[in-house]
Subunit: 451 residues, 2 copies
């Protein structure tokens, strides 16, 4: 199974491949700040053309262009989902070297986006190059989908998926993320949680009043507090009727996979978070079970009245709470939104406005899907150990519109991330050895997905 010429090609062209990574990092494609988008989409499209791919730019609703490319032929089609946009580099003063100037130090490459997600994007393209140079024609058809709005919630991706569904059909999808965990074992995930994000707004007088009026003027901060209290109590149970109805229990395969995942060191995690205990004192595999398979209702933000230093006696005119619901299969974000409205009305809070800030469906792939098995088998080949298979991740991504809605199973893998990558933070970095190893992982994945 070892692809010796493939690996030799990578080693031989090391300097050029890295220089190419530096080129794309130099383009400051910060979608939140609308910087460098066109240049980076063009760079990615031209790089894919140089590979021999047919390319086009797709978009919807005026969103940033998505670079679409197909290359190769075969009975199976592999969709590769990556993104060329990155998080803002701020706070700049915490970077040891300029964020858009890829810098090598101690066997690592530092730069904004190098881990999330330009490293994975480039190593996957470069792996195809290495394949073509050493193995000949691709045994599968590969479709690259490289979007430019991942860091701003993939705003227009669902519309692109609806419009261009026929272009996106595939037998499996390789997801953007990937790498090794703390124990240096490679990780494969097969799903993502969904989400429904809302803002609750309680309103009182039309302007902030002197707090002495609290004797007879309604206080929206109290209204919001009471309304929130009906959503979840100190027992942690979400009280919205019907909320748990669609929760699909973990399958036997899910639980078998769970049992093989190293739960990590509870004490080390507690120390890192600065906590003395987790909720309900859960630990180890039980903590992980909740993390992967349970939905949540989280207050992400609260604001009302005076929030500065010291005291100010004010009766607020408005109070706001931002809440995210993380959803597991088979929950539906639109249904959660309806349940929330019905619940607040039933509890006497029809005065509280719900602003819908967006939802995504949960997504899951069967653990025996071809793409999952290819990711696992190729990781085993290249890393010489059993990869860690997560039935899902606890986070959310646009897997549903791109994959699940079209019937495409999905897995992560063939990525260069590691526990110290500082994704979204200053001094984001990857390790050089991981970059080349993940390229070999990608090569092996092509082989396994074809067979």
């Amino acid at each position: 199974m070892v692809m010796e010429r493939f690996a030799a090609y990578i080693a031989e062209h090391q300097a050029r491949l890295r220089a190419e990574l530096a080129e794309i990092v130099r383009l400051p494609s910060v979608s939140a700040q609308n910087r460098g988008i066109t240049e980076t989409a063009t760079f990615v499209e031209q790089r894919l053309r140089r590979l021999g791919a047919e390319t086009r730019l797709l978009s919807a609703d005026g969103g940033n262009p998505l670079v679409y490319a197909t290359i190769g032929n075969g009975s199976r089609t592999l969709l590769i989902y990556d993104h060329y946009d990155v998080q803002p580099a701020e706070p700049l003063e915490l970077w040891h070297t300029p964020p858009f100037d890829l810098t090598e130090r101690d066997g690592k490459l530092y730069g904004r986006g190098v881990a999330d997600n330009k490293g994975n994007l480039m190593l996957r393209i470069q792996a195809v190059e290495a394949w073509l140079a050493t193995e000949g024609a691709l045994p599968i058809r590969i479709v690259f989908v490289v979007e430019g709005e991942e860091e701003v919630s993939s705003k227009t991706l669902p519309a692109v998926c609806r419009t261009y569904a026929d272009l996106l059909r595939a037998d499996g999808c390789l997801w953007e993320t990937g790498g090794v965990d703390l124990s240096e074992r490679p990780v494969v995930t097969c799903g993502a949680k969904g989400i429904q994000y809302v803002e609750l707004v309680a309103r009182g007088a039309s302007y902030d009043l002197h707090s002495s009026y609290a004797t007879f003027v309604p206080n929206p901060a109290w209204r919001l507090t009471w309304a929130l209290n009906t959503l979840k109590g100190p027992d942690g149970r979400i009280r919205i009727p019907g909320f748990y109805d669609r929760v699909r229990p973990p399958s036997a395969a899910d639980l078998a996979a769970l049992a093989t995942i190293p739960a990590g060191d509870d004490e080390a995690l507690l120390a890192d978070f600065g906590l003395t205990a987790f909720l309900d004192n859960v630990r180890g595999t039980e903590r992980l079970r909740r993390h992967l398979f349970e939905p949540t209702c989280t207050i992400c933000g609260l604001v009302s009245g005076y929030t500065g230093e010291g005291s100010k006696t004010v009766l607020p005119s408005e109070a706001r709470a931002k809440i995210d619901f993380r959803l597991v299969p088979d929950m539906d974000p639109a249904e959660v939104l309806q349940q929330l409205r019905r619940h607040l009305d039933a509890e006497g809070f029809n005065d509280i406005e719900i602003i819908d800030l967006g939802g995504e469906h949960p997504a899951r792939s069967p653990l025996d899907a071809t793409i999952v098995q290819a990711a696992v088998a190729s990781a085993r080949d290249v890393y010489g150990c059993e990869p860690i298979l997560y039935p899902t991740m606890a986070g959310t991504g646009p897997m549903y519109p791109l994959c699940t809605a079209l019937g495409t199973p999905v897995a992560s893998g063939a990525g260069c991330g590691y526990h110290g990558s500082r994704v979204h933070s200053p001094n984001e970095n990857i390790r050089l050895a991981d970059y080349e190893r993940a390229m070999r992982w990608m090569g092996s994945l092509i082989k396994h997905f074809a067979s």
Copy 2:
């Protein structure tokens, strides 16, 4: 009872008296910004010396100097409490003329502090001048106490009162505020509510986490929500054990006074506040009864996690609530603080920190006290109608350390405020006619207090 020469003196010296008011307004004595304090204290001290008073500056704990002055002799001593500090002038762009440049327009004088409290301070000093010039020696001893920290919660006044108690003893105290209400009738108040201001802090992880961790990491925003919910429920009843135990019911005299107070137009007030109903649909005199005689527990501010535009999926590391308790006689702020701690502990919230941001005792004077009756009788003389007698105001001031603790009854009156004064707001102003009428009120009050 008419003091014709007194009134004539005021009319004759109108231009100079107003110029003097302009002089003190020009000094930007913003205590919150530590501007112009020494200059203004010096101005006040020199003005009182020119009157013939003996003066000294008092202070404690490094606070802004309090100008202390005594003048006159008589069997009764009248304490006059005013302050020379003012609120910040910001937002400057909303002023039609420069805030520290006293400007006459349409029979009004505009300037920061002209209503709160430099107008009252100057007209009271000028009334004493007019008395001395027209009536001869004062029939009472007057003690002026002009502090420089009223707009920053009279931070060091309690310590000054403890240290210099012997200098502050009096038979009655004239409080800083005063003027006419919407119906143009003069107002006299005989007390103030107390307050206990706290900040509640709930803490979770030592830094904000990705919200997916909500499956097993405690969320301080939920902890705070649940804790707040135990303080007060949708029925408005404060649930802290013992909170109502010391509440003194309104006396027969209080209720008789309440019955004579015009409650105001409920519909107009609702429209101004942008509300469709008051709490529990209270209206009229019942609304006023609550306002004057009931304690409150008010969320003045809430903050946690992400509060900007749109959505950010964060699990907050901290949540804070600012709360004021307005207290009626005979509640004790320190006791409320203890009750709150005991209550939170008993409800399982000993993880929530309480920061004490200061307390003041409620204060009340008997409605038949000499100072109250002098304020009422002099208002009747000068305004030709029955003044409105409030047993207390719904707000809070340092009446307790300055008066109640020393056994001094207190009343407001002899002030130049009106419903359009815009106290603490841009374009603060007084009406010229009110300024001179309030000076006559002050002259008449001296006469009535002496007799």
